[in-house]
Symmetry: D2
C-alpha cells in the first residue's frame, strides 16, 4: 500500500496492484494536464491536475467499494477505472474535447481502443484486468459504472471539493462520507437512501453554482476559444504532431507546438495565451436575447468559424480577430438520481424542488459570446448583433428562457 | 482597538468605543446562550454562543460600513447594533421565542424598552448612542437596518459560516467578502450589483440546505418541545424567576430553575434534557399527509398542548408524555433581494430559478411532529393519526404540498 | 454503528457495543464541561466540551487499533477507555484538578473505584468490560495504556487539533494519520518508526506552542484562580453539594452553587466570573525574577492562600482581593517517545534538537502570577514584590532559568 | 482596485497602479514556474506557482504597510517589490539557482540590471517607480527591505501557508495577522513587540519542520539533481536558448529544450523527469557519517560532477548514471529577529529555547545523497562509500553533528 498526501482527503492509499498503472506514461502524463483548463487565468490557484484528481477518485472509490462490500475483483476493477477514468482527456481537459470529438468522433471517456492497444495494455494485463471491462466501467455500460460515471459518482464528489480547494470558490462543498454511506448499488443504477438526500441535493446544487463562477467563467471561455481557433489554423497549415495526436501531448506541449506552428495565427494566439493577452467580449448574451435552439441547428466548430469570419468581414477586421462561442444548450439531465424513501423509490427531483429547477437553472446560465481583439470590440459588437440577430436588452422578458 | 481571535474570521477588531457595551452584563450573558439551542444534542460541536456570533457580526458590519463608505456616526450606530442585535434572545435562542412572544407579545429583535431602561442604557449613553435609534436599526425600521436585519445581512453571513464551522455540516459556506463588495445601500433597501449574484444565490441556498440538516433537525425539535412544555408547566405551578424573566437567565440557569421547579413534570423534563433521555417521534409527517394550513388556524402553544393531552388520553398515557409540535408554515419571503443588472433593478428570484424555488422548498421541508416517551410511541402514533387526521402514506402524491 | 458528525474528524463511528456507555450519565455529563476550562474568556470560540473530545478520542483509537491489528477484545477495551478517559474530570476540567487532588488525593485519571461502583458499573458489565481493566488502561498501567495515556496518545492527537479548531490558534496542527501509521506497540510502550519522526516532532512542538498561547494564558489562569478561591471559601462556610462532590456537577452547576453559597466571597467571585469582571495581574514574572524551586517547596493551595492573605494585609486590602498563583514547575517529560530508526531504537529527543529543548522551553514558559481586584493592583504589586522577593527586572539575566 | 480570488487569503486586492506590472511578461511568466520545483513529484497537489505567491506577498505587504502607517510612495514601492520579488527565479525556482549563480554569479534576488533594462523598465517607469530602488528593496539593502527580505517577511509568511495548503502537510501554519500587528520597523531592521513572540516562534519552527518534510525531501532533491545534470550536459553540447537564458523560459519550456537537446544524456534525463522515472538513493547520510565541512571545501557543481564520474567509474557504470548531491551546510541564521520586551530589545533566540536550537536542527537535517539509476544502486552504494569515506552506521554517535 502506497500512501500519498493529498490536501483534500488527507492521505490517499493506492494498493500495490495499481502501482504499475500509476507509474505508466498515460497516468503520469495527467500530472501535466490542468483539471480546469484555462481557469488558472481567472483563479491563480487553479493549477491542479488530472493526476491528483485521479488519486482522489481512487480514494473515494475505495470508500465506496468498502461501503458496498464489493468482492475483491470488483474492487480492483472499480479502483482501476477510477485511476484511469480521465486518461482520455486531451490537453487543457474539456477545452480540447470539441476538437477531439470532431476529429476522432470520440469523447474523453470512450477509451476502449486506447486501453486495449496502447501503453496501458501491458500494465492492465499485469494487474489481471480486462481492458474492455475497464473501458466499459468508464464508458458507462458496466454494472459498476454508477460508481465512476453517474450523477453521484466519485468523479464528481472529488472534483467539486478539489476545485473549491484550489480556486478558493466556496461552493463546492460536498459531504462525501455521508453520501457514500447512503449509496445502494442496484442493477438499474445507484440509489441513495433517505439519509443521503441532503448530501445529494447539496452536491447537485454545488455543481450548478460552480458552473457560472468557475466552469463557464467568460475569461476561461475566451481562452478556450482562442486555443481551439489556434488548433484549427495550425491543422489547416499542415500542423501535425501535437495537434493531431492530442492524447500524446499535454498543456505545455500543445502551447509549444502552436508557438512553432507554420500558421501565423496559431503562433500569435499561443503567444497571447501564454502572456494572458486575451480577447475581450464584444457580445455576451443569454437566451433572452438570442434563440439558443435556432443557433444550434447544425452547429459545428466549422460553422462557428464561418460566422466569426462573416462578422469579422462586416466589422472590417481580419478573420482571426473574431471568435464565435456558442456552447451547447445544456441537455436536461439528472433524472437518474433515485431515492429509497418510505418503502418506495422516487426520483430525487420529485422530492426536492431545488433539484427540480437545476435543469432550468442550467439553461438560464447559458451564454453566447463573441470575442475580439480589444481594439475591435465596438465594431465587432455592432456586426455580431446584426449577423446573429441579437435582440436589444429589455427589462421585461430578460430571463424568460424556456 | 481590541483584537479578539475568532476561528471563523481570524481576528475581530472591536473599537474602543464599543468596549463598555462589550463588557456589559447583557452582552456577557450571551456567552452562556448557545447559538443553536439544542442542536448540540445532534452535533456535539454546536456549543458556540450568541456572544461570538455578535463579535462576528461586528466584524462583518465594519467591513460593510467600510465598503459603503459610511460616515463615522453611522459606523458607530451600525457596529453597536451588530453587537447588540441578539441581546433580546431568551435561553437556547430561538427555542424559547414562541413562549416569550406569547407571554410578552414581543420577539427577540423588539428591544426598544430593554435598551432604553435596562443595564445597557448607561453604556449606550457613554458611547453617545441613542437607544431608540439602535433599537430601530435592529428592529428593521431604520435606513441602516438592511445591514443587520435583511435577507443578506451580516447576521446571516456570520451565522451560516459559524454554524458550519461548529457543526461540521458543509452547507453553510458563504463568500462574505464578495457579497459585501457587491452591496449598494439605497433608500429602499440593500441592492447588490451583478458581481454579487452568485454569492447571494449561494447564501440563500445555504440557508435553505441548513434548515432540515441543522435548524429543523427532529432531535433538536424534540428537545425544544420538551423545554417549552417544561416551562409552561413550571409557570402554571407558580414558577417565577427564570421562567418569567427569560432575558435575565441563560441556558444552564433555565435548566436549573426547571430542575428545582414545584412542577414534577418540569423537573422530570429538565432531567431528561440534561442526560439526553429524549422523547421519540410517534408521528413525523409533511404537507403531503396533513393539511398545514388547517392545522395552523388559531394555532398557539395552548392549542398544541390541548391536542397533546387529547392524544395522550386516547393513548392511555399521562398528559406530559405526549407533545405536539406544529411549526409555522414558512411564510413566503426573500422577495426583498434586488439586483442592479444591465441598467435596471430586478428581484433576485426573477433572475435565479434556484432562488425562485426556495419558498417552495421551505414548504416541502415543513414537518409536523408528535413526540412521546419511547415506551408509548406505538400507542401515541395510533391516537395521533386519528386525532390529527393524518393521511396514510402513498407513493403518488407524497410531496405535492402547494 | 452510530455515525456522529464532528467538525474535526468528519464523522465519528461509535460501535453499537459502546452505546450504553455513551448514553450513561457520566459520559453525557461531559457535554457540560468545557474542554479548556475558562479559556472561553480569552478565545470566545473555546466552548467545546469533554464530550466531543471523548468522541474524537474514540475515532482515533479505532484508527490506531486497526493499524495495530489488535484483536476484537482489545479493540473493545481500548475504545471504551478512550470514551471514558475523562469522566474523572471535575467542572472546568483541569481547573478544579488541584482541589480534587487535595481533597481526595486522586487525579482525574485515577478512576478505578468510580468505574467499579458508580453509574458506569452497569453499562460496563453490559458491554462485557472489566472496570478494573478499563481503569488500568486509562491510568497508565495496562499494556494498552500507550494508546490513551502516553506522549503520543489519541488523547493528545485529538485535543491539539480540536483546541486549534475552536480557539482559532493555528499551532495545534497534527498529522494524526501519519503518526498512527508509524506506531508500533511494544511491551515496553509505543514506538514510532522513521516515517513518523516529523509528525511526532510536530505534535510535541505544537503542544509546547499551545501552552503560553492557550493553556497557560494569563486570563485563563486568573479566572481559574478565582474559581479555586471561591470553592475553598465555599467549603469553609460549610458549602456542601456541588463543591464536595465535583464529579456530580458540571461547569454551570458549580458556578450556580457558588452563586448561592453562604460565603459572601464565593458569591462575589461567582458573579465576577459570570460577567467576566476579572482580577488583574499585579505581578507576573518568570524564573528570571523569582526562584521557582524555592517557591514550590511544600507548596499547597493552603500555602498560596496564606501568602495571598499576607500580601493583602501588607497592601491594606481585604484577604479575598489578592490571589497567589504559583503553578508547578513543569517536570521533565517526554523521554518516553522512542523511535525505530536504522535498526535500533532511540529516544526521539536524541534525534531531534527541537524536541530536546522542549523541557527547557516549558521551564522558560513558567510564570508566577499575583492577581488582584483592578483598583488594588499598584499596592498589591508593591507588597507582593516584597513578600515574594521578586527581583527587579534586568536585561542581563532575564531568562536564565535553569 | 482589482480583486483576485486566492484560496489562502480569500481575496487579494491589487491597486490599479500595479496592473501594468502585473500584466507584464516577466510577472505572467511566473504562472508557469512552480513554487516548489519538483515537489509535485512527492506531493501531487504542489503545482502552485510563483505567480500566486507573488499576489499573496502583495496582499500581506499591503497589510504590513497599513499597520506600519507608511506613506503612499513607500506603499507603492513595497507592494511593487512584493509583486516582483521573484521575477529573478529560473525554471523550477530554487532548483536552478545553483546553475544560475555559477553561470552568472547572481542569485534570484539580485535583479537590478534586469529591472533597469528589461521588459519591466517600461511598466516601472509608468508606475513612477525607480528600478534601482525596487531592486534595493528586493535585494536587502533598502530601509523597506525587512518587509520583503528578512526573517519575518511577507515572502515567508505567504509561502509557508501556501505550501501547506497545496501539499497538505500541516506544519506551515502561520498567524500572519498577529505577526504583522506586532511589527515595528526601525532603522536597523524589523522588531516585533511582545505580543508577536508566539507567532514569530511558530513561523521559524514551521519553516524548520517544512525543510525535511517538503523543501529537502529526497525525491525532490533527486529530481532537482537530475535536472541540473541535464542542463550541464546540454550546455556542454552547445545547447543554447533556454539553457543559457533561464530567465526567459519556464518549467515546461526548459524540459522541452532538454528533450530536444543534442546531448543524449539531457534527452534521457528530461524523459525520465517527465514520466517520473527517477534515480534512487544509493547513499543518503547525515553529518554523523560524513564530514560536511570537509566535503564542502571548494564545492562546486563541477566538483560534484567529477566525484559522480569517479564513483560511476569505480562502480562500472556510465558517468551519467550517478549523481552526487552535497547541499550546502546550513549557515547559522536568524540572529536578526529582535523583540521589544520589558523595555529593552533582545534577540528572539535569547528568549526562546526552541528558536535557539533551530540552527542546530538545520544541521541535523542536512543530508548528502548519491543517486543512481535503480539497477546500479548496490554497486554505486559500495563505490560511493569508499570514494566519499562514508562511515559505517553506528548507534552511538549517529547524530553528533556539530
Amino acid at each position: 500500500m502506497k500512501f500519498i498526501k493529498d490536501p483534500v482527503h488527507g492521505y490517499v492509499e493506492v494498493p500495490e496492484s495499481l502501482l504499475p498503472l500509476l507509474d505508466s506514461p498515460p497516468v503520469q502524463r495527467l500530472r501535466h494536464i490542468r483539471q480546469l483548463g484555462f481557469s488558472y487565468l481567472v483563479y491563480p490557484g487553479a493549477n491542479h491536475t488530472r493526476f491528483e484528481h485521479a488519486l482522489g477518485a481512487v480514494h473515494l472509490a475505495r470508500l465506496m467499494c468498502s461501503h458496498l462490500a464489493l468482492d475483491q475483483s470488483d474492487v480492483n476493477l472499480a479502483t482501476a477505472a477510477a485511476l484511469l477514468h480521465d486518461v482520455g482527456h486531451g490537453p487543457f481537459s474539456h477545452t480540447t474535447e470539441p476538437l477531439m470529438r470532431e476529429w476522432s468522433g470520440r469523447g474523453h471517456d470512450d477509451i476502449g481502443p486506447f486501453l486495449a492497444s496502447g501503453p496501458l495494455a501491458g500494465p492492465l494485463e499485469a494487474a489481471c484486468l480486462d481492458p474492455r471491462e475497464v473501458a466499459a466501467v468508464i464508458g458507462g455500460t458496466h454494472p459498476l459504472s454508477p460508481l465512476i460515471h453517474g450523477d453521484l459518482d466519485v468523479d464528481r464528489m472529488d472534483y467539486l471539493q478539489r476545485d473549491a480547494h484550489y480556486t478558493g470558490v466556496p461552493y463546492g462543498t460536498v459531504d462525501a462520507p455521508r453520501l457514500i454511506k447512503s449509496c445502494i448499488l442496484e442493477p438499474e443504477g445507484m440509489v441513495i437512501d433517505e439519509n443521503g438526500i441532503n448530501a445529494a441535493e447539496s452536491l447537485l446544487i454545488a455543481r450548478t453554482l460552480m458552473r457560472p463562477a468557475v466552469y463557464y467563467h467568460h475569461v476561461s471561455r475566451i481562452a478556450s476559444s482562442m486555443l481551439l481557433l489556434a488548433l484549427q489554423e495550425h491543422r489547416e497549415e499542415g500542423g501535425a504532431g501535437a495537434a493531431d495526436n492530442l492524447l500524446a501531448t499535454d498543456d505545455a506541449g500543445l502551447l509549444q507546438a502552436l508557438a512553432r506552428s507554420r500558421s501565423a495565427t496559431a503562433r500569435e494566439l499561443a503567444g497571447r495565451l501564454t502572456l494572458r493577452r486575451l480577447y475581450k467580449r464584444a457580445v455576451y448574451v443569454g437566451g433572452d436575447r438570442v434563440n439558443p435552439q435556432a443557433l444550434q441547428s447544425d452547429l459545428s466548430l466549422r460553422k462557428m468559424r464561418r460566422l466569426g469570419m462573416e462578422i469579422a468581414e462586416m466589422a472590417g477586421r481580419s478573420p482571426a480577430e473574431v471568435i464565435v462561442d456558442i456552447p451547447p444548450v445544456p441537455a436536461d439531465i439528472m433524472t437518474a438520481v433515485r431515492v429509497q424513501y418510505g418503502g418506495t423509490t422516487s426520483r430525487l427531483e420529485d422530492l426536492s424542488p431545488l433539484v427540480h429547477t437545476l435543469n432550468r437553472t442550467r439553461r438560464v446560465q447559458w451564454r453566447m459570446g463573441i470575442y475580439a481583439v480589444p481594439e475591435a470590440v465596438p465594431d465587432v459588437a455592432r456586426a455580431a448583433t446584426e449577423v446573429l440577430h441579437v435582440k436589444r436588452a429589455t427589462t421585461q422578458d430578460r430571463l424568460v428562457v424556456d
